[in-house]
């Protein structure tokens, strides 16, 4: 219908159908934009969280365990070698040197990947400082062991070193707890929350819910069986749902990583217990040799501090390594975005183009036709 203004001049008014088409198109484009922003935000949020866990927290946690194992092994080797060694060729031994060097490298790894901020950095520096004192005590023990008449002093220095090693390992336990706490925060943060998928799923559902009725409306209004571009846009929307749902997999992987870390801890504790028992028992034997009567309390204290592990833990290293490998595999999978962050904008752009293409012929047809 064409209307005339009161002055009698003809006025060209947009038809109702055209207005409806324009509104539908605008709504679909807006829904596409909102869906893209929501999907991208959630996907990137989850991906960055998973990246941080895989690239920092997990390597830092595993490196702390490695450092603890290297230090315990170094100490056990020092006790064993000093006790067994001769006056001239004795010494804490190659094993000790190798493990101490290894511990230094693991601490460097922890420092590089430290996820616990300044607190973690400070703990690492303290451990490194105490390690200097510890190696000094082992050197002192070595020097005393080489003088047969001062061997008791060597054992006393070894006992001091053992006490300091307990402090160092305690500090590493605290550092480990801080790194694990960061991993827990990463697992439990907002991006990986179970309600977060609603943030991206809802806009996509709205988009789909608009595309389907639009298809029906166009088919009825224009008596055409199917609007192919809008059909393709609907398929692309389903594709966006599928791709963004990969963020759910990353979140599940983070859960799995946390369980893996708990498994690593369990297998490592068995391993540590074995090495600790070996070192404490060796030291107790040495104290007993040097002070057979008056040191019964000290000897008993040393043995009680690390009783023999109930199941033999000699095979524990294999499960520990296996659990660590699994942890790293899950971490790598969680952090692998499969380039979805690049595909999502392309899909959204495609949906936009298809929406424009789907409406263009109908709008052209109804450009100025009154209904």
């Amino acid at each position: 219908m064409t209307v005339a203004d009161p002055g009698g001049r003809p006025s060209r008014q947009v038809s109702t159908t055209r207005r409806t088409l324009l509104r539908l198109r605008a709504a679909l484009l807006a829904a596409t934009a909102v869906a893209l922003v929501a999907c991208l935000a959630v996907f990137l949020g989850v991906a960055r969280t998973a990246d941080a866990a895989a690239d920092r927290s997990v390597p830092a946690i595993l490196a702390v365990y490695d450092a603890q194992h290297a230090l315990r092994s170094a100490h056990a080797a020092a006790v064993r070698n000093l006790a067994d060694g001769g006056l001239v060729l004795g010494g804490p031994g190659v094993d000790y040197q190798r493990q101490i060097a290894g511990a230094g490298q693991y601490l460097t790894l922890v420092a590089e990947n430290n996820a616990a901020g300044d607190d973690g950095t400070r703990d690492i520096q303290t451990v490194e400082a105490l390690l200097v004192t510890y190696t000094g005590l082992i050197e002192q023990a070595d020097a005393r062991y080489r003088d047969a008449s001062l061997r008791a002093l060597g054992v006393a220095a070894l006992r001091d070193a053992a006490s300091l090693m307990d402090d160092i390992l305690g500090l590493l336990d605290e550092l480990l707890a801080k790194q694990v706490s960061v991993l827990d925060e990463q697992r439990d943060n907002g991006w990986t929350h179970r309600l977060t998928p609603a943030v991206w799923l809802l806009p996509l559902v709205v988009l789909g819910a608009l595309l389907v009725p639009t298809q029906i409306y166009l088919s009825r209004r224009f008596r055409r069986a199917l609007n192919l571009p809008l059909l393709l846009a609907t398929a692309a929307t389903v594709g966006m749902v599928a791709l963004t749902s990969l963020s759910l997999r990353s979140a599940a992987d983070l859960d799995q990583i946390r369980r893996d870390v708990a498994a690593v801890n369990e297998s490592r504790q068995g391993q540590f217990h074995q090495v600790r028992h070996e070192a404490a028992d060796g030291l107790a034997d040495e104290v007993q040799k040097q002070c057979p009567e008056a040191c019964a309390r000290t000897v008993a204290g040393l043995r009680a501090s690390a009783p023999p592990p109930s199941p033999p833990a000699s095979a524990a290293s294999t499960p520990a390594r296996g659990a660590e490998t699994e942890t790293l595999t899950h971490a790598a999978r969680a952090a692998d975005s499969n380039s979805v962050e690049f595909v999502l904008p392309l899909l959204a752009f495609g949906i936009g183009v298809l929406i424009l293409a789907g409406f263009q012929p109908r709008l052209a047809e109804y450009g100025y036709r009154s209904t």
């Binding site: 400082a129 105490l130 004192t133 001091d160 006490s163």
Partner: protein
């Protein structure tokens, strides 16, 4: 073209409210007014007591305190300095570290912080830089806690059962008494030298105390300034006097001391039957006794080190201090330094430590435990001489501690050990020695 859009007042109002909310949350009362880091050696119960002081400071100022406690403060502090990240404040267990850091220009002077508090005067430690360019004497540290040494602890009932009802008043009586205890196959001395990473210090305390009470204040101060030889004269006499006293026990007892911590050794006083009968230890050992007898500490008592020589040295007492020094002069650090030296902080500390806290600052003389009260009152009388090995340069003190351990295992090596100590002495630059020595105790105020 006429713009027909109307301003969206609700939207503008919403934005304003959100911005205001964000601004308010940034200024909320939960935000600390600053942060200060402090490194000290206290752990366990001692840390808990000090934590109460820090909480008091936080409540008063709103400044957050980040405490790091470890027994190897010197090494951790040195590492922090080398990395350019020292704590704001460190509580140093060794006085000589202070001189070294002053010489290196690492410490911040405290004159402006402590000069306004007259009550803190006895706690302030003034030093001058002893390396070029030499500096004027300034306040560089505050003794926040003080420990009385020159004490022998015992369980009166156990000694009375052996016929010793009064404490010895001379060294000769002390030697006789320890012989009497040893005669029945008992262990007279609680000996524990293990205290990593500075094992041996309980032995250096013995020798310092004997030197002070055998040769007097002047010789003691000469020795701490590096002006006395180790091989001859008063220092050698102190070593042999200690050796003679310990010689009343079996060699096995001395050897066991190498593997025993001073705390484990001291708790032997309170076992049944007693593991030992006399413990030469500083006032902080009271914590160990209380831990060994949680129902009140047991009837432990002490007597001061008697004169070893002919002179009356009963007014001389050895003490050690925990000294706080400032490495970064931030405003929160300055405030915490002032607070630690203040009367309110020391009051909180005394309460939180169950009165097992002593200071050079005058305090109320009322103590629930009379033994604790006597320790506190002794800090107000006579002359207080700083722990000698705390004053010695690190290389000298470390050699001293090691020499004590070797001497315990093999007293026959004494001459060789003292010769080595003289060699170490000659290799240490004089600038590393300290000029601090003995001072009259601050008199009581009530």
């Amino acid at each position: 073209m006429r713009h027909r859009g109307r301003p969206s007042w609700p939207a503008l109002a919403l934005v304003t409210v959100l911005l205001a909310g964000a601004g308010l949350s940034g200024c909320s009362g939960d935000e600390p007014a600053g942060e200060v880091t402090i490194l000290a050696s206290w752990t366990g119960a001692e840390r808990a007591a000090f934590d109460a002081v820090l909480r008091g400071f936080e409540a008063e100022t709103g400044i957050h305190v980040d405490y790091q406690g470890h027994r190897d403060v010197s090494q951790v502090l040195q590492a922090g300095i080398e990395r350019g990240r020292p704590p704001d404040i460190a509580v140093l267990p060794r006085l000589n570290d202070l001189q070294r850091y002053v010489n290196e220009g690492q410490l911040q002077p405290l004159d402006e912080i402590v000069d306004g508090d007259a009550g803190a005067a006895a706690q302030v430690i003034r030093l001058a830089r002893k390396t070029e360019p030499a500096g004027e004497q300034r306040a560089y540290a505050v003794a926040v806690a003080t420990h009385l040494k020159s004490l022998f602890w015992y369980e009166p009932g156990e000694l009375a059962a052996l016929g010793y009802r009064q404490p010895p008043t001379t060294w000769a009586e002390l030697v006789t008494r320890s012989r009497g205890v040893a005669a029945g196959g008992r262990v007279p001395w609680c000996l524990g030298m293990s205290s990593p990473p500075v094992s041996g210090w309980p032995g250096t305390d013995w020798i310092e105390d004997i030197l002070l009470h055998q040769s007097g204040q002047a010789s003691y101060e000469q020795w701490t300034r590096g002006e006395l030889p180790w091989r001859t004269g008063p220092v050698r006499d102190a070593w042999t006097t200690w050796g003679d006293l310990l010689g009343v026990s079996s060699a096995g007892t001395a050897r066991a001391g190498l593997f025993t911590t001073w705390a484990d050794a001291g708790s032997g006083l309170l076992t049944a039957p007693p593991g030992c009968y006399l413990d030469h230890q500083a006032s902080f050992v009271l914590r160990t006794y209380r831990d060994a007898m949680p129902d009140g500490g047991g009837p432990v008592d002490f007597f001061p080190t008697p004169p070893v020589g002919p002179s009356d040295t009963s007014s001389l007492q050895e003490v050690s201090d925990d000294i706080a020094a400032m490495f970064r002069a931030t405003t929160p650090a300055r405030e915490l330094m002032a607070y630690l030296a203040s009367e309110p902080a020391q009051r909180i500390w005394r309460e939180s430590s169950d009165e097992l806290f002593f200071s050079r600052r005058a305090q109320s003389g009322d103590y629930a435990d009379p033994v604790v009260g006597r320790v506190a009152s002794r800090l107000r009388t006579g002359t207080l001489c700083r722990d000698g090995s705390d004053l010695l340069p690190t290389a000298m003190a470390t050699a001293f501690e090691r020499a004590v351990l070797v001497y315990l295992q093999d007293p026959g090596r004494l001459d060789a050990l003292l010769a080595e100590l003289d060699a170490v002495h000659s290799s240490v630059p004089p600038a590393e020695y300290m000029d601090l020595g003995c001072e009259p105790a601050a008199p009581p105020t009530n």
